[in-house]
């Protein structure tokens, strides 16, 4: 940081740190992998695929790939919004409950006699309002989002259980809408990829994206430059919540059931873990949506592979926990190595 002196700063000619000549191909490849977090997590995912394919020939079958898509889709959609929030320096623990609530809003609006698409929009709107609420409570009352959204999480869970009376319902049928919104085995993953692309474009190529990075990277500096950091934060809370609502609705269509206990903290933590494994810093300012997607993908491959290998569910949680911890430690270590690699 500030200790860096002129002498070891990047040279004016190239704009990059001077690379010692004669580095082998593998050293350079290694350094690219270390610097680009997305590449490193992709490598991990590929290695996992190879390992599971060797261990179980059923891994790369059509059916199993579909199962992986099911694991990935909803979590990846939530992870995209969560990544944006983490980058701007906040977190939302209530997304798993928005997931369940949005589907019920859709269900009840439809039950009230309105068309299914109106129900879907109502579900998304309510999700956005929850995000607005989270953002306003966090920003205006200066409550850490870890706490404020923990409160919202219980609040929403209670509301969903109350309005559903704790009973699951069958997802209303609306013909083509059901297919597009998740019943078709490939529609949910298509949504997930589309969301990833759109949100990544927002992050990389719009003012909103730059302001999100600035808010998380240097809150004081960004507001000094005139960035409306409150608006950026509230907006990203709304984005994360709306995407969680979308994921919940898609999932309701896929499994043909509206479940008050769907989602929950499990999907929320998977989404956060995926984002962090994919290189998003919990401290803000750093991260990509593509990385979050790949992080969720790697976790899903791991989960699916263990299922195929018949690893006991309890053992699976132990291994998953260790895997997440290792990924988090690597997250920190890799950054230190990368920074050292610059010089």
């Amino acid at each position: 940081m500030a200790e860096t002196t002129l002498s070891n700063a990047p040279t004016p000619e190239t704009g990059h740190p001077p690379e010692p000549a004669g580095k082998s191909f593998w050293t350079r490849l290694g350094s690219i992998i270390l610097r680009q977090r997305e590449v490193s997590i992709l490598v991990v995912a590929i290695v996992l695929v190879i390992y599971f394919q060797i261990s179980s020939s059923n891994f790369l079958t059509n059916d199993n790939i579909r199962v992986i898509f099911q694991f990935v889709s909803a979590t990846a959609i939530i992870s995209a919004g969560e990544a944006m929030l983490l980058i701007c320096g906040e977190i939302d623990l209530s997304v798993g409950q928005v997931f369940a609530l949005a589907a019920f809003i859709m269900y009840f609006v439809n039950q009230a006699g309105l068309p299914l698409w109106v129900g879907i929009i109502a579900g998304l709107l309510v999700s956005a309002v929850v995000g607005l609420f989270n953002g306003v409570v966090t920003v205006w009352f200066k409550i850490p989002s870890l706490i404020s959204t923990l409160g919202t999480q219980f609040l929403l869970n209670g509301i969903t259980l109350t309005i559903s009376m704790g009973e699951p319902e069958i997802t209303p049928a609306g013909g083509q809408i059901n297919q597009v919104m998740g019943l078709n085995p490939y529609s949910e993953i298509a949504w997930a990829v589309a969301v990833m692309v759109v949100v990544q474009v927002i992050l990389s190529f719009t003012r909103w994206g730059k302001h999100t990075v600035a808010t998380g990277g240097n809150l004081l500096g960004a507001s000094e430059a005139g960035v409306n950091v409150s608006r950026v934060k509230i907006g990203n809370f709304m984005l994360a919540s709306t995407l969680a609502g979308l994921a919940g609705i898609l999932e309701a269509f896929r499994i043909d059931s509206v479940d008050p206990l769907a989602g929950g903290t499990t999907i929320m933590f998977s989404a956060v873990a995926g984002a962090v494994i994919g290189g998003t810093a919990l401290s803000g300012g750093l991260g990509t949506v593509v990385g979050a997607f790949l992080g969720v993908l790697a976790l899903s491959i791991l989960r699916d592979g263990f299922l195929l290998l018949g690893v006991n569910a309890f053992t699976f949680d132990i291994i998953l926990g260790v895997a997440i911890l290792i990924a988090m430690i690597l997250n920190v270590r890799l950054r230190i190595w990368r920074e050292a690699g610059r010089q």
């Binding site: 860096t4 002129l6 700063a9 990047p10 004016p12 704009g15 003012r207 240097n218 750093l286």
Partner: protein, 264 residues
């Protein structure tokens, strides 16, 4: 205390009269009357607790004075907020606070003033890169590339970019709070050269807070000494010397600093 400058020949960019600021029982600023001529570089020196940072916060609009008046371009103004001070062209450059480390140099230069490809919402990175490069070159700021993340630059380079950005966003009065603190000689020289370039261009007026009197004498046109919440010394650098400045500050300790309460 000092002669008012001829407003026709050397109009003041900013002037304060009898600024008072108290924090409870503690008086941070007793009576600060200071002026900064257009295009001038004023060095503001003083010991810790003399009230320098309080004074700068008032000029930034961050803190409201309890008494006294501020004039910008000879018009009385009330610096009620940071954004209002910004709108008058007053900008403070804090070391290491201004830039976003994770963004590239040109995205920092255009932070909150990003250019877009109308009617599309996408950033016009090419144009911003070009303009940032031109502006930095014009100001004599030498950095490897405007594409690198600010985190990869040295403290001096970052400070230079922060100053260049302030000038680019139409700052007329720059407040530099210890621009050379925690910087090596080479780095410091970079900033002093930038300040010199700004002086030659003559578009901005600068108040520079500093501890190093030698650097003040080298860079500034005039030096003010703030002691116990008031300006006790005001001379062009040509008429003073390192010895005199050291003597003034040392005398304070010999006589005893206990007679006036200071903020601490």
């Amino acid at each position: 205390m000092k002669e008012a400058p001829s407003p026709v020949e050397f109009p003041d960019a900013i002037r304060t009269e009898h600024i008072v600021k108290r924090y409870g029982a503690v008086t941070a600023l007793r009576d600060v009357s200071m002026h900064l001529r257009k295009g001038e570089v004023l060095g503001l020196v003083g010991d810790n607790g003399a009230g320098k940072s309080t004074f700068i916060k008032i000029l930034t609009g961050f803190v409201q004075p309890d008494g006294g008046e501020v004039f910008v371009n000879e018009e009385p103004v009330k610096l009620r907020s940071v954004s209002y001070a910004h709108s008058l062209g007053i900008e403070t450059v804090y070391q290491d606070l201004a830039l976003v480390n994770e963004l590239s140099v040109y995205h920092n230069m255009f932070l909150n003033r990003e250019l877009r490809q109308f009617p599309l919402p996408f950033l016009n990175n090419r144009k911003m890169r070009e303009l940032a490069r031109d502006h930095l070159r014009k100001m004599g700021v030498n950095i490897p590339s405007v594409d690198v993340e600010v985190a990869k630059l040295s403290g001096g380079q970052r400070q230079a970019i922060a100053i260049a950005r302030a000038v680019y966003t139409d700052a007329k009065i720059l407040l530099l709070d210890e621009p050379l603190a925690a910087m090596g000689a080479k780095e410091g020289a970079l900033i002093l050269e930038l300040i010199h370039n700004l002086k030659v261009m003559g578009e901005v007026s600068i108040i520079m807070i500093a501890h190093n009197y030698a650097q003040v004498l080298e860079t500034c046109d005039r030096v003010n000494l703030l002691q116990h919440g008031t300006i006790t010394f005001d001379k062009p650098v040509a008429e003073t010397s390192l010895d005199e400045l050291n003597e003034l500050v040392m005398r304070e300790y010999r006589v005893g600093a206990t007679k006036t309460p200071t903020k601490s």
